[in-house]
């Protein structure tokens, strides 16, 4: 589903490459965990897959098609298939929770549709947002202002947004950072269950080896921009 081939990423002015020849294959429907210390390149790898970082060399294929950051139109089409849950789960604080969830559909909407949804949501859109929010356990939150949510609640909204997008691949960047153990477990359960139900390929970065082995088919370790030891695929 995802093939990363000899990927090298170096940020302008950086002494060493952020990613130093990464080779990685993720199978359709696989749940892959990436462990690694801060600064090891986890975020950069996920951003490269979503086409936000242009590699120095090597390439990435998603669903058999190359991620080309210079072809804006093709890149947008690719991104529509990739749900991204960013590390800081960035959302439009000023907008209601339901609009942030429906933002997952922005790629499928025209700019006019986006403008209309900003002003007014149809009952159908409202119902759709509510149904997705129910799946992540915050069904009543639709009308609330996103800026007023707690960290864990935002994480749920970020997952809901990725689900609304109906993607083939979900990239989750440290979705359980700064959550307590109990809550972290619930978020991972939610994420993995949704991935299972939707038959989505899930790549998730995190810091906790125990949780990684418990929830994911395979665990790889990223160390200073290189893939280190890898546990074999368990069962896909």
């Amino acid at each position: 589903m995802i093939s990363v081939e000899r990927l090298v990423v170096r940020f302008p002015g950086a002494a060493r490459a952020a990613l130093n020849g990464i080779d990685l294959d993720v199978l359709p429907g696989e749940r892959l965990a990436i462990l690694g210390a801060s600064g090891s390149g986890k975020t950069t790898l996920l951003r490269a897959i979503a086409g936000f970082v242009t590699p120095v060399s090597g390439r990435i294929l998603v669903d058999g098609r190359v991620i080309d950051t210079h072809d804006a139109k093709a890149l947008r089409a690719q991104r529509r298939r990739i749900g991204m849950i960013a590390q800081s789960h960035d959302m439009v604080e000023r907008l209601s929770v339901e609009r942030n969830v429906l933002a997952g559909k922005l790629g499928a909407w025209s700019a006019w549709h986006a403008l209309r949804a900003l002003v007014h949501l149809t009952p159908g859109e409202r119902a759709e947002a509510k149904a997705i929010l129910e799946r992540v356990g915050i069904g009543d939150f639709g009308r609330r202002r996103t800026g007023s949510l707690s960290g864990g609640e935002r994480q749920r909204v970020a997952i809901a947004r990725a689900l609304a997008q109906n993607p083939r691949v979900v990239l989750a960047d440290e979705p359980i950072a700064s959550l307590d153990e109990d809550y972290a477990r619930r978020i991972l359960e939610l994420l993995c269950r949704a991935a299972e139900e939707e038959r989505v390929t899930l790549v998730c970065t995190l810091h906790q080896p125990a949780l990684a082995h418990e929830f994911f088919h395979r665990v790889v370790r990223l160390d200073r921009g290189s893939i280190g030891e890898s546990s074999p695929p368990l069962h896909v």
Binding site: D90, R94, G107, A111, R161
Partner: protein, 438 residues
């Protein structure tokens, strides 16, 4: 005096400002979104808006009066053009301040740049956009009085008419009304900063204004024809010979005006600061500064042209009086920001409050004082080109004369010269700002 005689110009002034602001937002917002989305040509549009904004509002108005005809429609046209440039440029900058990661998270869904701007940047910057919209309206109110001075309707036109009719009582009443309006609008601006949605109150006013001033679209064909007839811009030999003098006069108006203003503002500012003078005196001076600021330069100029006669002196005094109000307030704030400890040290030597103000307040606040003065000089270089139009000499007067005598090729040339002059002043101002910055 008949109240209705007053109500109509007041309404026209508000309506022109409302309609001008509304058109400016309606045109400026999509342009800003286009720029913020970095669509093809966005950079060029951004630069064009910046350049367009350099044509003074009164210059646009005199132009609009020829193209659209005397009356509020000309005022609305001039304000719409000027504020479209201002709103478009500023909205684009505000949309550009929205946090990158938030926009990236929306781009990650495969959304187009436009969708990202609409769904992400627009709501994120909404408070700033509304506040700036209200600020543009505040400026448009002052400007709508000013454009009236060349026949674009409203209080400005009334003031000119009353001066020509030697009815100074009516002039005084109109100026008092003007000060009142400016205060109400200032107050409105302060409310909007607290509750940004209040800015939407401008919309019904703008719509009413548009209906009232009979939109210019009906005259579009005529406007295009008139404009085409102005082309190409030409200055004859006599005008060319007089040009250096006109430019020098404009410079003189700006420099002398700013100098006078700074001189008075230092003293008024020290008294107005909540620090040295007895509270009631400081309060009274602050109110005086408010009045000075409320009356636009052009209106002060209209009166001075009668009082001291046509020529650059009237222009310099007009800029000086208005700028004294502006600088006095800014200087007072700068002095108030000087650390208390520094002044206490002086007080400990037994110095009186005049000595503390002079040897403590001024030197310690010198940085901002110089900066405000230079910024004001740049502003006055722009304004000096327009006070000329009401008889204060310089390029503005040459522009006005050519319009009055129907020399439209010449008039277009002066419009372009004014534009170039202001653009150079702005470029110089930027150079200053970058050398002053630490």
């Amino acid at each position: 005096m008949n109240v209705l005689n007053l109500a109509i110009p007041v309404w026209q002034t508000l309506a022109m400002a409302g309609a001008g602001t509304l058109i400016a937002v309606a045109l400026g917002a999509p342009l800003a979104a286009y720029i913020a989305a970095r669509a093809p040509g966005a950079r060029a549009i951004y630069l064009a808006l910046g350049a367009l904004r350099a044509i003074p509002d009164l210059t646009l108005a005199i132009f609009a009066v020829v193209v659209v005809g005397i009356g509020p429609a000309a005022g609305v046209t001039a304000l719409a053009v000027f504020y479209t440039a201002m709103v478009g440029k500023m909205f684009a900058e505000l949309l550009g301040t929205v946090s990158r990661p938030v926009l990236e998270s929306l781009e990650a869904t495969g959304a187009s740049k436009f969708s990202v701007v609409l769904f992400g940047a627009l709501p994120s910057a909404s408070t700033d956009l509304l506040t700036f919209g209200a600020y543009a309206f505040e400026c448009a109110i002052r400007a709508s009085v000013v454009v009236g001075a060349v026949g674009a309707g409203g209080i400005g036109t009334e003031i000119v008419g009353s001066i020509n009719a030697l009815d100074y009582r009516r002039v005084a009443v109109l100026i008092a009304v003007l000060v009142g309006i400016v205060w109400v609008v200032d107050w409105f601006g302060a409310q909007v900063r607290r509750q940004p949605l209040l800015a939407l109150a401008i919309v019904p006013l703008g719509v009413a204004g548009l209906i009232g001033s009979k939109p210019v679209v009906f005259a579009a064909a005529h406007a295009v024809k008139t404009f085409a007839a102005m082309w190409p811009p030409v200055l004859d030999a006599r005008a060319l010979a007089a040009l250096p003098v006109a430019i020098f006069e404009t410079l003189e108006i700006a420099v002398v005006g700013t100098g006078l203003a700074a001189l008075f503002a230092i003293q008024l500012g020290l008294i107005a600061a909540r620090r040295f003078a007895p509270a009631p005196v400081a309060y009274a001076v602050r109110r005086v500064l408010d009045v000075l600021r409320s009356v636009p330069e052009v209106v002060v100029g209209l009166i001075l042209v009668v009082a001291v006669g046509i020529g650059p002196l009237a222009g310099a005094l007009a800029l000086g009086i208005h700028s004294a109000g502006v600088l006095g307030k800014l200087f007072a704030e700068s002095v108030e920001n000087v650390p208390v400890a520094a002044l206490d040290a002086l007080a400990a030597t037994g110095a009186g409050s005049v000595a503390i103000a002079t040897y403590g307040g001024v030197p310690l606040a010198l940085g901002p004082i110089v900066e405000h003065t230079l910024f004001r000089l740049e502003w006055n270089l722009r304004t000096a080109t327009v006070v000329g139009m009401i008889g204060a000499g310089g390029i503005g007067q040459a522009l006005f004369n050519s319009q009055q005598t129907f020399h439209y090729h010449e008039m277009l040339a002066y419009v372009l010269i004014t534009w170039g002059f202001v653009l150079s002043a702005e470029a110089l101002g930027k150079r200053f700002a970058s050398t002053l910055a630490p």
